[in-house]
Amino acid sequence: MKIETFINEEKKKLNIKGYTEPLLDVLRRHGYIGAKEGCRQGQCGACVVLINGLAVNSCIYPAGRTSGKKITTIEGLGKPNNLDKIQQAYLETGAVQCGYCTPGMVLSTKSLLDKNPMPKDEEIKLALDGNLCRCTGYVKIIDAVKLAAKKLQGKK
């Protein structure tokens, strides 16, 4: 089965093994390996990508449903030598430890800040409540979101 979708603003034709193949598998097979496999139960957020700007767990998202929609993966944000402001904020605050949860965290942060440029602590916690960090670096992650908000507003 073939679907047409937009990944990181590029039109893509994807081969999928059926409407219900998990989006995570399709993305990784097509080279978008920033989305990580964690629990495969929609519980950990390691596989979070954005669909039309909203964070979803790609491990439980039927790939067929992305037809005509806009997918944003971590590869769509920045490059190693040209980081996005959110990625830069994570780096500067030391919010990255093992890094496995980071793509999902960064994308959830992007989804939040696109809609709410200066979130309060409670709003940050709510937006990131589906992203688990097993290194438990949550304090610095919240700091990173606040710094990213300032950077995006041109205040840092």
Partner: protein
Amino acid sequence: MNNNTVYLPKKLPEALKILNSGKEKILPLAGGTTLLINPTENASYIELDGLNLNYIKSDKNNLSVGAMTTIGQLSVWPQAQKRAQGEPWNGLIRKCAIAIASTPNRNMITAGGNIVGLRPWSALPGVLLLLDGKIITAKGKIYPAKEFFSKLPKTILGKDIVTEIRIPLDNKDLIGGWKKFSLTSTDYPILSMGVLYKLKNKSTIENIKIVATGLTILPQRFIKTEKLLKNKQLTANTIKLLTKSLQDEAVISADIRVAKDYKREILGAIFLELINNKYNRGATEVAEKDKNK
């Protein structure tokens, strides 16, 4: 990966026709959060995503929510609508919505799926019972929430599809509260509870509705306790007696995580918390939100 066949109708009548074709076991596919984890064997699905059932509309009488509206959209709706401010029960809908799962899953779980699936995290049925909501179907049927949740919704629906939930907006004077009790904020609730009431003379309850979810598969209303509360002044003593009545009235199914008595105790504690918040409009988070303004 499972190999379930998925039909992709473009219009609702087409979806109904497929559902009623009788050829095979066919299930409507709403948010799809359980599809890849726990697919129904030998079933085909009808994709509802393309049927324009994703909307939130309000007029002076009703709030209408399309069945494919996500819980994430519901959770931000009252904030997006200035007119909703000052209507305390709107805090109830938001509190209920953010108590369901986590943000990435709330962006998938739909209003329709939450009320039909009756999963452990289904909180919306409780809120619909509190607010006298109605459930509208593709065949044009309109079920009051009380009727829709009297049995398993799938049994009541048969080969029909939920298209909309509708909540009357004429009950602005009501005070509401919703509380989820779980091990972590995103965990499945051990139980959830909601109250909606109207006060007269600041401390006498004119009317009250009490609902809990997570005690049995179906949401539960506490009619006996509600009757006892009517026209009662809220003194410490009456609240104590009524908490006991509520605990006695509760029907609790076995739960592998906790004992029935534990749930009964928690039920009482949450009721006390919700009812004691009467002067800050019932919902703690609404009061906190106001405080932060």
